[in-house]
């Protein structure tokens, strides 16, 4: 008969709570021996290989490469007695897995000393009163709270449906009446980590006592301690939130705002983990904002002639298959200005204590995509004519919106344009793309009264802003560059002079 053993992610350091799966050395069906290295994980402290605690055949790999897994989560199932059925019992009950673990004499399972994993059914501390009424909490919530298996297969507690309506289920629960505001037992917002049944709640004795004294049902508290232990802080936080929780009185108030988010236990906030593009953006912005002293200069400019040029080019045969926009002309204007002031196209090499002047311009275009902000760049933009540049911008934004921008596309930029005007705002103070010395923000183009040839006329006007790294760009240089960009936009023919 096959015997399935689960290997739960251990704490490979001291007090670590999670690790990322870097690579699997085994696949389903492979035979493994005890202590054979099966997986490489990266923790906050180190990259380590984990040896298998079991010998047998790999029945299932539960976590994919690249995922961040909490300590205590099962990551692999190994059949230690493969002469039998091959498929693991995905729905094996908690009691079943307990008994197989018990067969091996490993009463602790694969859990770390002192931490452990809350396996449903592992009644760490049976409650004396569990046979009768719940001890300190008048509202029985435990029996109808959805229970989740460690690997995410929802099951329900046996006593569900014994005459109890689904009063505690998320989204179905009737709204709390004003009379019960402030009473912790009035409702349980369960979007955050559905708790195993009351029997599986794990907490240290003094914490249990505290909860009992405060009249709080431990099973309704979201545990944050290692291995799913309810901590003293969790109890106090729950107690403190009991008041605001009463404010979540409208339908769907406590529904998460984003699919990837989780609702906080008071039902009034959605929390979303910081990852991928958002994480990279944050790191880039922090590193840039706090290493390069930023200065931003502004220029309001009459771009009527640029708008006329854009209109004309849109009807030009040469440009039939590409989009001509004010951004295109601005990009060209910036390239012309950089050509006149190449010192701006540089980066600060702090390690070498050198300034690196780039002979080429890789023109970055900040793009807002469904996944967040990305800044791909057009390689060797200084060599491109207006049409080539238009094609470059089109390709780059299409790739970005499709989410296919590669790291290469985003690396080695030398200067960037961010078109904040598309959102209808006048301008901003952009933060430099790390490794670059200047970034041009282009504002919305509006028709405004403007003094033109001594009279007030209706003209197309926009505001430009240029942020630069004051370590290597002096105010005069930044001002001249922006002034040149503005000159071209005001009179595109100036481009012929400087081109």
């Amino acid at each position: 008969m096959p015997t399935f053993e689960r290997f739960n992610l251990p704490d490979a350091g001291e007090g670590l709570t999670e690790a990322e799966i870097v690579s699997w050395h085994v696949a389903v069906g492979d035979t493994v021996t005890v202590n054979q290295a099966i997986v490489e994980v990266e923790t906050a402290k180190s990259l380590v290989e984990l040896p298998s605690p079991y010998g047998g055949v790999v029945a299932e790999i539960l976590t994919e490469v690249g995922t961040v897994v909490e300590v205590g989560t099962p990551i692999i199932v190994i059949d230690t007695d493969p002469d039998g059925e091959a498929a693991p019992q995905r729905d094996d009950s908690a009691g079943g897995s307990e008994s197989t673990a018990g067969d091996e004499g490993s009463e602790s399972g694969s859990v770390l000393v002192g931490y452990g994993v809350a396996t449903p059914g592992t009644a760490r501390r049976a409650r004396r009163a569990s046979a009768g009424a719940p001890v300190a909490t008048p509202a029985p919530t435990g029996g109808s709270t959805p229970v989740e298996e460690p690997h995410g297969v929802p099951v329900t507690t046996p006593d569900q449906g014994v005459g109890t309506p689904l009063a505690g289920a998320p989204g179905i629960e009737p709204q709390a009446s004003p009379a019960s505001v402030g009473k912790p037992q009035m409702r349980s917002v369960t979007q955050v980590a559905p708790r195993p049944g009351t029997l599986a709640v794990r907490a240290k004795p003094p914490v249990r006592k505290l909860a009992r004294d405060l009249g709080i049902d431990l099973s309704s508290i979201h545990p944050t301690g290692p291995g799913g232990i309810v901590t003293r802080e969790d109890v106090l936080a729950y107690s403190a939130q009991a008041e605001p929780k009463g404010l979540a009185t409208y339908v769907d108030d406590d529904a998460p705002w984003l699919a990837s988010g989780q609702v906080s236990s008071d039902g009034r906030q959605t929390r979303v983990p910081v990852k991928s593009v958002r994480k990279r953006t944050a790191e880039a912005m922090v590193s840039s904002a706090f290493t390069a002293p930023h200065v931003t200069v502004f220029h309001t400019v009459d771009v009527t002639r640029t708008m006329r040029l854009v209109e004309r080019l849109r009807t030009d045969k040469e440009f039939t298959d590409v989009r001509v926009t004010p951004l295109l002309v601005t990009a060209k204007a910036l390239l012309l200005a950089v050509n006149r002031h190449p010192e701006i196209n540089a980066s600060w090499d702090d390690a070498a204590q050198e300034i690196v002047y780039k002979h080429y311009v890789n023109l970055g275009i900040a793009a807002s995509t469904p996944r967040g902000l990305v800044v791909p760049n057009i390689k060797d933009a200084h060599r491109l004519g207006l049409k080539g540049l238009a094609q470059g911008i089109a390709d780059l934004t299409a790739t970005a919106r499709a989410g296919r921008t590669t790291p290469t596309d985003m690396s080695d930029g030398t200067i960037t344009i961010t078109n904040v005007g598309v959102f209808g705002i006048d301008t901003g103070t952009p933060i430099l793309n790390p490794g670059e010395s200047a970034i041009l923000a282009m504002g919305a183009i509006r028709e405004q009264p403007w003094v033109h040839k001594g009279k007030i006329k209706k003209r197309h006007v926009t505001q430009l802003a240029l942020s630069f790294d004051h370590r290597l760009v002096d105010g005069a240089l930044g001002a001249r560059l922006l002034s040149d960009v503005a000159a071209v936009l005001e009179e595109p023919a100036q481009g012929l002079v400087w081109g």
Partner: protein
């Protein structure tokens, strides 16, 4: 072949060359300089030499198994000794039964030579208790996790031995020495300097055995000392020697001489065993972040276990039969370590009161009773055992 790369400090003089009796490629070194140390291993017969090798292999197997158990979530932490087997087994085997050892937390090899069953060491690393053995039973103190503090405990114990009249009697079964183990990092702690000072002026029967494994977690020896560590002893008036810590016979010989000096009333000795921590500082550490693959390879080529195996084979003291027996013994040990650790339960809560004082103490008794009441006051019926 003496390029032990002891540390990255400026020019070490020829005098800093460590004592070596076996080269890294496994041949005996015979010179006038090491004659008196060669004499100290003269009595070791073929079986003794084979046993030194067995010790090192078993200790290494224990080490590997324990490291795996930590990675499998069975131990909270583990401090591997990989690479330091010779320094520990060599020095440990030089001890007499009545000698007392004060280890740090990595002396699994010394523990083995003191007759301690190695699996018991893991009770500490599983968090079951503060040490899985009775220090008096093996004359092996509990592991000290505080860096260097036990050098002073050992000094005090040695001064006690002296005052008990167990030094310089000429009776080999009675004269007692004390040895303390610490690392290069501990030499930066005031405690070790204090121990050297106290031991010197009191002529305490003490051996201060420093395993210079090159790294105090991520801090290299070069940032801790300007001079080779063994030279520290001279300033305190403590005779000192630098020994190749990956040469089990050199470690045995040097320690044996130092212990004899101590037992005969000659006072303390400082030994710097130049070795290398081939693994991580502990399982929480990632050494690839601070040292190079090249450096690790350099030391792998000087592996203490492999070196001694080569010597035994060359001297025709080791054959395939020996190897097969030892492998079976090691496998048995590995499985025993595994099952022992997994079989460790949870100590009763009240056991925390057991060793607070050697004898009954009214305040502790009161605390124990209060705690029992407190535990009983919960609605939960069961204790913490899972």
């Amino acid at each position: 072949m003496t390029d032990l790369r002891p540390s990255r400090q400026a020019a070490s003089t020829p005098d800093d060359t460590p004592l070596q009796l076996v080269t890294p490629d496994g041949t005996f070194v015979a010179s006038d300089d090491n004659a008196r140390y060669r004499a100290r291993i003269g009595h070791l017969d073929s079986e003794d030499l084979r046993n030194l090798y067995r010790d090192m292999v078993l200790v290494r197997r224990f080490d590997t198994e324990a490291t795996s158990l930590q990675r499998q979530g069975e131990l909270a932490l583990y401090a591997p000794l990989l690479g330091q087997e010779a320094a520990q087994v060599g020095s440990g085997r030089a001890l007499a039964p009545q000698d007392m050892a004060f280890p740090s937390y990595r002396e699994h090899g010394v523990a083995h030579t003191r007759g301690l069953d190695m699996p018991h060491i893991l009770q500490l690393f599983r968090g079951i208790d503060h040490g899985g053995w009775d220090p008096a039973e093996h004359n092996f103190h509990l592991y000290t996790l505080v860096i260097g503090s036990h050098a002073l405990h050992a000094t005090g114990y040695a001064m006690g031995v002296q005052r008990d009249g167990l030094v310089g009697t000429g009776d080999r079964t009675k004269d007692t020495a004390v040895i303390t183990y610490f690392g290069d990092g501990a030499t930066s702690q005031g405690d070790v300097s204090e121990a050297l000072g106290f031991a010197a002026v009191n002529e305490a029967p003490l051996v201060l055995f420093c395993q210079n494994n090159q790294w105090a977690i991520s801090v290299p020896t070069s940032t801790q000392t300007k001079v080779p560590l063994y030279q520290r002893g001279a300033g305190f008036g403590v005779p000192s020697i630098r020994v190749d810590g990956n040469d089990v016979l050199a470690c045995y010989a040097a320690t044996s001489e130092a212990l004899d000096r101590a037992r005969s009333g000659g006072g303390p000795t400082f030994i710097e065993a130049v070795t290398y921590r081939m693994g991580a500082h502990t399982t929480s550490d990632d050494p690839t972040r601070y040292r190079t693959a090249e450096e690790e390879q350099h030391w792998r080529d000087r592996d203490p276990v492999e070196r001694f195996r080569t010597l035994l084979v060359t001297e025709e003291l080791w054959d395939e039969g020996h190897a097969a027996d030892l492998e079976a013994q090691a496998d048995e040990l590995g499985e025993r370590v595994r099952s022992y650790v997994k079989g460790l339960g949870r100590p009763a809560s009240a056991s925390m009161f057991d060793h607070v004082y050697a004898t009954d103490h009214s305040l502790v008794t009161e605390d124990r009773e209060w705690f029992a009441d407190y535990e009983a006051s919960f609605t939960d019926t069961q204790g913490g055992a899972r």
